[in-house]
Subunit: 594 residues, 2 copies
Amino acid sequence: MLDYQAPLRDMQFILEELADLAAIGELPGCEDASADLVSAVLEEAGKFATGVLAPLNQAGDQQGCRLEGERVIAPDGWQAAYDQFRDAGWIGLSLPPEHGGQGLPKLVSTPVWEMWFAANMAFAMLPQLNVGQTEALMIAASEAQKATWLGKIVSGEWAATMNLTEPQAGSDLAATRMRAEPEGEDAYRLFGQKIFISYGEHELTPNIVHLVLARLPDAPPGVKGLSLFLVPKYLLDDQGEPGEKNDIRCIAIEHKMGIHGSPTCTLSYGDEGGALGYLVGEPHQGLATMFVMMNEARFNVGTQGLALGERAYQAALAYAKERVQGRDIISGEAGKPIIHHPDVKRMLVSMRARLMAMRGLLYTAAGWFDLARHATDTDVADKYRRYVDLLMPVAKGWCTEVGNDLCDEAIQVFGGMGFVEETGIAQLFRDARVITIYEGTTGIQANDLLGRKILRENGATLRELVADIRETATQLGAHERLGDLAVALHDQATLLDETADWLLAHKADTAELYAGAVPLLHLLGIACGAWQMARMALAAEARQEKGDDGVEYLQNLIELARFYMATQAPQARAHGHTLRHAGTVLSRFDTGAL
Amino acid sequence: MLDYQAPLRDMQFILEELADLAAIGELPGCEDASADLVSAVLEEAGKFATGVLAPLNQAGDQQGCRLEGERVIAPDGWQAAYDQFRDAGWIGLSLPPEHGGQGLPKLVSTPVWEMWFAANMAFAMLPQLNVGQTEALMIAASEAQKATWLGKIVSGEWAATMNLTEPQAGSDLAATRMRAEPEGEDAYRLFGQKIFISYGEHELTPNIVHLVLARLPDAPPGVKGLSLFLVPKYLLDDQGEPGEKNDIRCIAIEHKMGIHGSPTCTLSYGDEGGALGYLVGEPHQGLATMFVMMNEARFNVGTQGLALGERAYQAALAYAKERVQGRDIISGEAGKPIIHHPDVKRMLVSMRARLMAMRGLLYTAAGWFDLARHATDTDVADKYRRYVDLLMPVAKGWCTEVGNDLCDEAIQVFGGMGFVEETGIAQLFRDARVITIYEGTTGIQANDLLGRKILRENGATLRELVADIRETATQLGAHERLGDLAVALHDQATLLDETADWLLAHKADTAELYAGAVPLLHLLGIACGAWQMARMALAAEARQEKGDDGVEYLQNLIELARFYMATQAPQARAHGHTLRHAGTVLSRFDTGAL
């Protein structure tokens, strides 16, 4: 079984130095987020992740969920862990105080969710659904609906789901067929089938609240005809408690490559007269609500990439320090652990470099969410809202791709022991494979980045971001010892500017441009990672100048930034070349010849 | 279930145009390999792969092997398929005629093994062991041993294994502990445990012949004290038929992430007095025999990368042509299959480009094996033996890494359906994960490439190879329509020369150099792939000039080469940058800070 320890020192460093926790804690509504409180929260969460969730991860994978009739049985231990998790109040950490949450900023909940995903992703997907559903209901639900449902969702007394996908409507929600027919004044009867519903059925909570995309009888075709419905597993009685069973049944669960502990359900609505549901928000506005939630959802999945990568790194590092094999390449000495082999060391340092880049980007972006929501200066709020919009497809697409790469590399460190299931590293690799797919594939993230986020506004926000990156490069240049990093970061900024120029100059060549969307996403991900690594090096240098006693830790952060520039930055240049040259070849290519 | 059709047209094109089948067929001992015979062999093999092996692949994965006491039970259908495979004589295809094989050149058996691995890798590992063992016995066994054992191994009447790994001796064979004690004149008693033994036990054949690395009582320490023993599961009686059971037992099989149909056994030797075995070759020379086999073994695993990639590509292509989702990005038209989305098309073309590059490299290298073995001009034979030596770590390391990437990309094309096991694509991804590990990890291939194959001879063979690549680039330059490819290939040659210069200039900086070994391997793999794509474009152009009627096919091969240059070639440059810059950072890095 793999251990997991929350990397508190790295988390704290990035929270304080890159994401400016102190400034976030001064925003109106965020005042509870004092340094002391945040430390205490992280420490408690770390203990819970290590002590309760991590030990269940492998058993949950091996046992999986099972369908008995229409019942879905979670793995052993899931119920007790959920009860503890709920009772400790973790679900409401960043949720609205008026519904029982603690209202901490996203910056604080982000490292905490990183821990849950790292410790046991299949489990953590369950309470994450409560967070997502709360956000949706806060956006679109009526006050009466909020009063009825939100308290139980925020506390975790009831579970939540999102029902979007249908067999013919995966990435393409326009193809949604589920229909909703009016039933009396406030209610609707829903009919149809939804697939790939995470935790669509289980018995861990006395009720499950489904949010379901469906079409009203008068709905226009396509995505403009989608409405959002709240459909509980059990209808509420007069006391607001779960009563009669609704007309929903789980007819299958998927046999997946990973996340075996998380039941992926096919739900059939309305086989016996229609499932009773309630319209959330205006008719035909379901997708708008989904869109508002989308940045949050993407951010969370990006965090899963970081989290699984961190767990894989910890496992690989522990194995590499322990496994004795071969001779020292210089001294010829035998009996040394494999971490002394240059290639194994390379893999581990490379993993850690990318972890810190991802963590830097995600935590910084978490702070942007908070600034966008709470900053009193509307220019500031607006700037960071635009940054969030621009970079969420990157945070999702890039961090999930890198997360997969890290799990892959961890197996490589384990060698043959990585391919056998008992060591547990194979599970991370299998679990991670879903994250570049769900909440929109990497290709869909990339198309969104290119089309909606860059071309539509002629690259305005991207240029603003590049100016910020150049500012960091200039700051680096002021430190004699960091001159090489300044050069490397300026080069990334130049690459971004050249890329923006090229994109705008070729705006009309749609097919060619979109053939380069994924290379563009990687390019931007790597460059934003380089920016964070550079900021990290700056902060580490400043702390050293102030006489911080963690010299070795700080100096290694600077070297880590250098390693990132030597290994990742050139990949960004390669993606830039591909972006500019592959599209024309591709558009000449006849798919019939494949 | 996934279909598989051998890509006969591509195979034939590369055999004829890149690997010069006609010339190989004129070598002494290779005269049977006429164009007609080769076509017939490939066609028959294709039918067998599609009709017999491919349909068992998914069921074999789902059912797996099981251990009952000391018995290992193969998946349903394995026995019948093996009987057919053996009876059809496929095992002896390229094996010595004097022992019942057909003696066809490696160039001919290579596409055939590609088919077996693509159709059902877990199954094909079994007969592949007979091929490897035949090669070992041909090198080192006495004439009497050959007469006793080889006929049954070549025909497949008996199965074969290789026993190298022990718990403390994975990549490091010097740590081997298994001991062999003399017993009478010719025999030895073996004691110890071997792990990770593919097909170490099963009942598909009436006997299993193990080749086992062990130490004699007077063995010097380390790899110079390893001897090779032949240890049968059943000792032979006076008629040479399996008689008394030997003192070997299977005490466990691994629960692996993939290749579930292939039992990976822990074998215990000598629990009841010692397993009777026979020394093969001279005492303490076991590793030398292994080394001679190593290029073949690496080549085979490289072919697995190509094969799994091809199967994954075919599946992804079929799915992309069938799955309707989203709107055409230009026309806005609905109801189109996803292959029309630029990013999906990009993934498929990228997969096909890398498949053709790998196939070009592997078939060309197969021809080099034949030239090295059969060419009457000793300079020619010597040149291609050196090419094989130089490039086998690349063929193994690069093709297995790319094979994994292709299986990963195929899942991405499938989206959510790629993550559920029923579609079968997840199995390919899981199966492929072992190939960058067994027969030496990518890191070990890379160290071999850098140390033994480049530095030790001051890059002499590498320079010779670069001259051949430049010659191809010059030929491209003579065709007006291929000028862009000439430029791109010259650039790769220049990169290789610059890399060689740099490596030799830094020969003394061992730790820094070896930190760049894997980037070097990728660089060389991509550049050799570029060379093959360029040769393919040249041949396609020549065929068009000669009026070949497959214009569309040929023109698309040229575009495929261009796509490769636009997407892969810049990655080689990025690896070159990493090679030159990452090592110094890494050698400053204190592993204690990880």
